[in-house]
């Protein structure tokens, strides 16, 4: 019996050793800098939009502002991973609402072979979408759709992502919307809450810098 146990222990140690070796070899292989794919870059939200307003179908206004604290302040960066010779590109924004205590996070992150998109509502309900496999690979299994454009309050927004939690409504928090619409340039443009309340972006043209006469 002791001999059998000893053999099992040896086999386990050997397998750990071999798999660690393989892992290290893998990390060696992926040295380099990995960028967000061109396809995903189309959805990089304009970080000069630091606040915006939305209004629901009852005429109640809600404000959102870009979180400039901790890591959110650096919206676009390269971070070191693995053995230190690997860098991945990350873009991320996080918005908080003024009244409703909503939080909306949107991240594009390069991986070795693909780019991943993370969307999180209220720091709890999260999805992670793989632009390569075109699938939600972790988090809630929401349906993700992409459109060219969407008209919201008589303004047309482009490069639209729709996140639809309708089929898994019982798995999301009470204040996580059933549907979220994000514009590639403008960020959050519309969401529909569980009780049917529709909250839409109020389009506000960004101020044009004043040209000096000299």
């Amino acid at each position: 019996m002791k001999r059998i146990l000893s053999k099992i222990r040896t086999a386990l140690l050997f397998s750990i050793f071999v798999s660690t070796g393989f892992l290290l070899a893998c990390i060696d292989e992926v040295e380099g800098t990995f960028y967000i794919s061109d396809e995903a870059l189309k959805y990089q939200i304009d970080t000069t939009i630091t606040s915006f307003q939305m209004q629901d179908n009852f005429g109640i206004t809600e404000g959102f502002y870009l979180d400039q604290n901790i890591w959110y302040a650096t919206h676009h960066y390269f971070s070191q991973v693995g053995n230190g010779a690997t860098y991945i590109e990350t873009f991320g924004v996080n918005y908080y609402s003024v009244l409703g205590n909503y939080s909306f996070m949107f991240v594009l992150r390069a991986q070795v072979e693909y780019t991943q998109m993370e969307i999180e509502w209220n720091q709890t309900d999260r999805i992670s979408y793989n632009f390569n496999s075109k699938k939600v690979e972790s988090g809630l299994k929401a349906n993700i759709s992409f459109f060219d454009s969407l008209s919201v309050r008589n303004h047309t927004y482009y490069r639209i992502i729709e996140v639809d939690f309708s089929t898994i409504a019982n798995q999301i928090g009470p204040d996580t919307p059933l549907k979220i619409f994000i514009s590639g340039n403008d960020g959050l443009i519309k969401f529909i809450r569980k009780e049917g309340i529709v909250v839409e972006r109020i389009y506000n043209e960004q101020p044009v810098p004043i040209q000096q006469p000299w």
């Binding site: 404000g63 205590n101 309340i197």
Partner: protein, 206 residues
């Protein structure tokens, strides 16, 4: 023998380090009845409000506590027998489901500090204001930070002795030009109205 001597010295040091002095209560500050009436809500009450565009919703009183708290000055060394004072704190919380608002009313300081004779109100732990009152429980009106109206018509109803106060603090918000709550109207019936910076209001609906 040497080990026993070392043990004896350590034990003596430990015993001499113990504090046998009881902390001394240097002051005791209860809330008076007239002060407690400044927050006229009871646990389980439902209060109907209406948004300026017509949407009606209910606030429910989800918390009402009256408790004694202790405060002592910060002390790092030689704190044995340090004095403290006791104060009474009342906290009442009103919550609505949509719009998702949580209003906290506090007397006897806020969650972090004690300061007497102030009614503290905050919305969603993000927007806070403080209204001073005198020893008779009357909100002090200086017509600058706290503006007073003998009568004021709100949502079609006439209210007497109304106080208006701007919000003092905006947690986590660096941009004061953002859309946010601007001020509140308050009187003996409690919160009468929240005014937003875009002129939208949330008003008590009788």
């Amino acid at each position: 023998m040497i080990e026993k001597a070392i043990l004896f010295i350590i034990a003596s040091l430990l015993i001499s380090g113990c504090c046998n002095e009881e902390p001394v209560e240097a002051g005791r500050y209860p809330l008076t009845d007239v002060e407690l009436q400044l927050i006229p809500y009871s646990l389980g009450d439902t209060i109907r409000f209406i948004h300026s565009n017509g949407y009606e919703f209910d606030f429910k009183v989800t918390k009402e506590t009256l408790e004694w708290k202790k405060h002592s000055e910060f002390c790092e060394w030689n704190c044995c027998g340090q004095g403290y004072y006791s104060y009474q704190q009342k906290t009442t919380v009103l919550e609505s489901l949509y719009p998702k608002l949580s209003l906290k009313f506090q007397l006897g300081g806020n969650d972090w500090y004690y300061y007497s004779n102030n009614l503290n109100i905050d919305i969603n732990n993000r927007f806070a204001l403080s209204m001073p009152f005198d020893s008779l429980g009357n909100i002090i009106c200086d017509n600058q930070t706290v503006r007073c109206y003998d009568t004021l018509r709100i949502n079609g109803y006439l209210f007497y002795y109304v106080f208006e106060k701007d919000f003092d603090f905006y947690y986590s918000l660096e941009d004061s030009t953002l859309f946010m709550p601007e001020s509140i109207l308050y009187n003996q019936y409690g919160l009468l109205q929240i005014k937003m910076t875009n002129d939208e209001t949330y008003s008590l609906k009788n």
